[in-house]
Amino acid sequence: MTHGLALEVEGLVKRFGGLTALDGVSFAVPEGSITGLIGPNGAGKSTAFATIAGFHKADGGRVRLRGRDITGAAPWALHAAGLARTFQIPRLFGRLSVAENLMVGAPPQPGEKLPAPWFARGRVAREEAALRARAMAVLERLNLARHADAPATALSGGQKKLVELGRALMSGATVILLDEPAAGVNRTLLREIAATIARLNAEDGITFLLIEHDLDLVAELCQPVHCMAEGRVIASGTMAEVRADPTVAEAYLGMAIEAT
């Protein structure tokens, strides 16, 4: 395993009118790591995600993907470069089946370019069959294969989170940003999601950056952990180190973080 940095965020600034959501955010995601991003509500974690992934235009600062400056790149360009993201509240394509949701997650297909759908139907059909097989293999890994042809809206909240993860996997991404993979998920499925993330990290070498409020899960999975508050990173290190940091406790409204 290399010990370079998959993602470097340096002095990232994002303002919405008079509100400064990101006030010079800096942190790094080591290659091959599962890095955690924690912090109280409104700390700017999701804004940081959206800005890194190209959904918001940064007002300052730099983002590098494996040393390459990607600041201001469009989401689709970053997706092609191997950076995928999920959403805090799952955003699936409601009128598509679960398998179709994953198939859209693959890199742009030749059959998506006109006029191939009209004049090269045989070739497009073969590519589609291969793509569907790939989607089924991913669903198999996520234990969702039996829902392949169900509408995406029929799934539970936790399953939708898994489908979003599957969609990100289809892109062949090597860095995946997960926004609260455990929020609103029942205990059983939570264990399954945690195990899946760990397995994808260990077996496929995918680097993860995840936002999470379930600090036990962060302690279990993530190293390093960065804590944000009021648009800045206020502490970094192992979960134990971050936990011990007095500024972190203060940031969580002065309340001590529950001990595990």
């Binding site: 992934a53 959904f55 469009a74 989401p75 689709w76 997706h79 092609a80 995928a84 993201r85 999920t86 959403f87 955003r91 699936l92 394509f93 409601g94 009128r95 598509l96 089946s97 679960v98 179709e100 949701n101 198939m103 859209v104 997650g105 890199p107 742009p108 297909q109 059959g111 998506e112 370019k113 006109l114 191939a116 759908p117 009209w118 139907r121 497009v124 590519e127 589609e128 793509l131 042809d149 169900a150 509408p151 995406a152 029929a154 969609r167 289809m170 892109s171």
Partner: protein
């Protein structure tokens, strides 16, 4: 007997032309979620393009005298004209929020309407363009109109095949994904503006072609031959009634609503003078009422989009 046949042929020909229009709107709204409230503009551009390229003008006609091409050379260019009008509108407004396209298309349709009414040198102004040849006219009655109906049906079949191939392809899947959730589509690496533009232009090309078929059926095109009620509003009713997102629904809706529209026109015509005028407005009211009832009780239309799990 022959009158009844001619009436049926006329009805079906117009229904077929509307089916081409509705298929175009289905590509835009049903598949991609684009609100085009200016179908009239694209129909008009296609109609005038084909009219000016083919018409043998009456002596003293004000409009630009064209090359007098045969219909089959002009129709593809009518589709291209519809597409060319859509290109700049789409390129500007499809980057913005969805409702901006609706506003932009209403505006463009009005601009096109005023343009054809006022630019006499090109369009003949209020006098319009006459002498547009109708294909197969030489076959006489009733075979000429029947042959034209078959031509319209063939064009609709071709557009249907194209629309189906589009909808079922990976391209169509991406359009549906963008329609369902734009942010998620960006997250999976698609540029929504680029896909939307393609769908918008493709739909506009269908509308331009429908305009050409309309002009050659009327053998005349003028500013009063098109009005937003039939060229825009009725097409939306057809698509929603038939089932947006379903190409067969689009065709069925076009035929069913056009049959109702034509039947009520006939009924209104049987009424005495004063009542007949009022009936014209009542007809519009009834179509509006029908639209509301459909949206309330059967929002998916007669045959709605095929959704997963409903096999």
């Amino acid at each position: 007997m022959e009158n009844a046949l001619l009436y049926a042929v006329t009805l079906l020909t117009l229904a077929g032309i509307y089916a081409a229009l509705t298929l175009g709107l289905n590509l835009q709204w049903g598949l991609t979620g684009l609100m085009n409230f200016g179908a009239l503009g694209f129909v008009a551009v296609g109609a005038y393009t084909s009219a000016l390229l083919t018409a043998t003008p009456a002596p003293g006609a004000a409009h630009l005298v064209g090359p007098g091409w045969p219909w089959w050379a002009a129709w593809p260019l009518a589709a291209v004209a519809g597409a060319l009008l859509a290109l700049p509108i789409g390129a500007i407004s499809l980057r913005l929020r969805a409702d901006y396209l609706a506003i932009a298309t209403i505006g463009i349709a009005e601009i096109v309407r005023l343009f054809v009414r006022n630019e006499d040198w090109l369009t003949g102004g209020p006098l319009g363009v006459s002498g547009i040849p109708r294909p197969f006219e030489g076959l006489g009655q009733p075979w000429g109109p029947v042959a034209y109906l078959l031509l319209v049906a063939a064009v609709v079949a071709l557009l249907y095949a194209m629309a189906e191939a589009t909808a079922k392809s990976p391209f169509g899947r991406t359009l549906r994904a963008i329609r369902d959730d734009e942010e998620a589509a960006k997250a999976v690496g698609r540029n929504p503006a680029s896909f939307r533009l393609q769908a918008f232009v493709l739909g506009a090309a269908c509308m331009g072609l429908a305009g050409a078929m309309l002009a050659h059926f009327f053998k005349f095109m003028g500013p009063d031959a098109l009005d937003p009620i039939t060229a825009t509003f009725l097409v939306w009713v057809m698509l929603i009634a038939g089932g947006s997102g379903n190409n067969r629904g689009a065709i069925l809706g076009a035929v069913a609503i056009w049959a109702i529209w034509a039947a009520t026109d006939w009924i209104a015509g049987q009424l005495p003078g004063e009542l007949a005028t009022r009936a014209a407005y009542l007809r519009l009211f009834l179509i509006g009422l029908a639209l509301n009832l459909i949206l309330l009780y059967r929002p998916q239309g007669l045959i709605g989009e095929r959704l997963p799990g409903a096999r």
